[in-house]
Symmetry: C2
């Protein structure tokens, strides 16, 4: 299969039972998912960069949480305004955005 070069995981507090509660969800993390999706499409990175919403990572007070694998880089307090920086510096530039790292 075509594996991603980068896989961006955004906590949207999606519980396995279908409930959606928690801090990241209330902090508009859903906008982050669509923000990353738009940036990936605009930059023509659809085949190599994936984005997925996830359940709670247990770091609610530091949310919204974004994790980038395979780098194992964890970002906290991410806002819609940070999506472009993560795409520019980390996904395309190869260097994590230090000011957002946990």
């Amino acid at each position: 299969m075509n594996k991603p070069k980068y896989h961006i995981f955004v906590c949207t507090s999606s519980r396995p039972n279908g409930q959606q509660k928690g801090f990241c969800h209330t902090k508009a993390a859903v906008e982050l998912v669509s923000g990353f999706m738009e940036e990936i499409e605009e930059r023509g990175l659809g085949g190599e960069v994936f984005v997925s919403n996830t359940g709670c990572f247990g770091l609610c007070e530091k949310g919204p949480i974004v994790v980038v694998y395979p780098d194992n880089v964890w970002y906290g307090s991410v806002t819609a305004g940070d999506v472009e920086a993560i795409m520019d510096e980390h996904i395309e530039g190869g260097s994590p955005v230090k000011r957002l790292e946990l």
Copy 2:
């Protein structure tokens, strides 16, 4: 922060808007999440192995899908009976379970 050595992602078809539809969900992927959680606890790996449910990976016909990072190993058609093998061979043994790889 305490980063995981392994992070196991299980597609449970959790949509960012709270809906939960799709193949992996109907294929009892939710049981996989609880299965991994139980194995992690029983083996005392709580601090180093994380498990998260996710939204659709777009590989529905091969579901349920389980992805292990940072290894970027993708498993398909995973059943509750495969959880122990993934934990034994991959998470604790360090070698992916070839028969399940996509």
